[in-house]
């Protein structure tokens, strides 16, 4: 026991001397992030997304202005702040990306295969979802998150999403909670929002989609959770799958009450 106390005292001393250096690091990282805020390349995606939304496309030559994102046909303003939601025409809970897929298939006449050929972009092979999501979500900037669990299927989605959040698996035993269930944690120098608490869930959810400077791409929430699972060493999360929507419903509902603030720019 005395040995333990000795170690604690020693650690305290080390940290007292190391604290200054560490604060400087974090201050500089904060400066780095602040300096990127002005001039977010996400705007380039937003512009393309708005064009895509309004263009007559697909075998049926219809524009997505006929698509109902939950607030009526063609209503984009504030729509993302209420997604995911239950859609009676599909009898399903859908997030933005799965709803766009639904509209591309049912309204524009694309085959499901064609409409899911490139869900995540890479360089010159670009994803329509990333552009559309950039624009649609930008139309919810400043809108307070208001996701409803009133429908039974939303309630079920939330509960499944919550279980998935804590589900440990794969060779590394990781779950979402491994990284996202405690305050003030980091991976390397990247802050990890505690998604189990209101503040963290709000901060985490309302800042996606985001332009990732490490990739030079705009990424949507579907990408975010797909890539989390990749790094959790899970198999490939299917775009628009039931679990992906359930997990999104869990996280989006926990963010209720916060003003939506994306597309953002992140490392």
């Amino acid at each position: 026991m005395t040995r333990l106390i000795g170690i604690a005292a020693l650690l305290g001393a080390i940290f007292a001397s190391g604290a200054h250096a560490q604060n400087t690091t974090l201050d500089e990282i904060a400066r780095y992030r602040a300096q990127l805020q002005d001039g977010n390349p996400a705007e380039l995606w937003e512009a393309r997304g708005e064009d895509l939304w309004k263009q007559k496309r697909g075998p049926k030559q219809v524009s997505l202005e006929q698509c109902d994102l939950g607030k009526g046909r063609g209503v984009v303003k504030g729509a993302y702040a209420e997604l995911p939601r239950y859609f009676s025409d599909a009898d399903k809970v859908m997030d933005l990306e799965s709803r766009l897929l639904h509209c591309m298939v049912t309204l524009q006449g694309f085959s499901r295969a064609d409409a899911t050929k490139r869900v995540f972009g890479s360089g010159s092979s670009r994803s329509d979802y990333e552009a559309l999501a950039a624009w649609i979500t930008s139309e919810s900037r400043g809108v307070v998150m208001k996701v409803s669990l009133n429908h039974q299927k939303m309630q079920e989605a939330y509960e499944l999403g919550e279980k998935a959040f804590y589900f440990r698996g794969g060779p590394h035993d990781f779950s979402c909670a491994t990284c996202h269930s405690e305050d003030n944690k980091r991976i390397r120098l990247q802050d990890l929002p505690n998604l189990t608490q209101k503040k963290g869930a709000q901060l985490g959810y309302t800042t996606w989609p985001a332009y990732r400077v490490s990739q030079g791409e705009l990424r949507t929430f579907q990408w975010r959770i797909n890539d989390c699972f990749r790094q959790q060493r899970f198999p490939d999360l299917v775009f628009g799958s039931e679990l992906s929507i359930a997990l999104t419903a869990f996280l989006a509902y926990n963010a209720n009450g916060a003003a939506f603030n994306a597309p953002a720019i992140k490392r």
Binding site: G39, P41, L44, A47, Y211, V213, G216
Partner: protein
């Protein structure tokens, strides 16, 4: 055909602040693709900005300017409603010109 630039020109304190976002891969020529092949260099090598026909900035770039480049500068003499024209040309000879209105 490259995507349009985003140009924001704002008059403030007797000068015009210009912010430009360009859509470009800015390939260095040193990166390998998934199959291990070198991706050829492809980058904007020159930029010019004009106001009422007068050049207010020119730049020469190499491939170490970040992907989807950002550029900000200030010049004097612009009025609200004037146009600022930005043109870039890349190493493959592709060009793009867009304009922004000073507000």
């Amino acid at each position: 055909m490259a995507d349009p630039m985003r140009i924001r020109a704002t008059a403030r304190d007797g000068a015009v602040n210009v912010k430009v976002l360009m859509s470009h891969e800015m390939e260095t020529g040193q990166r390998k693709d998934a199959s291990g092949k070198l991706v050829p260099a492809h980058y904007i090598r020159s930029v010019t900005a004009t106001h009422q026909g007068k050049t207010v900035l020119t730049a020469q770039w190499g491939p170490a300017v970040s992907k989807n480049p950002y550029l900000e500068f200030d010049f004097k003499g612009g009025q609200k409603g004037d146009k600022v024209v930005v043109t870039w040309e890349d190493n493959k000879g592709e060009k793009r010109s867009d304009e922004g209105v000073i507000n």
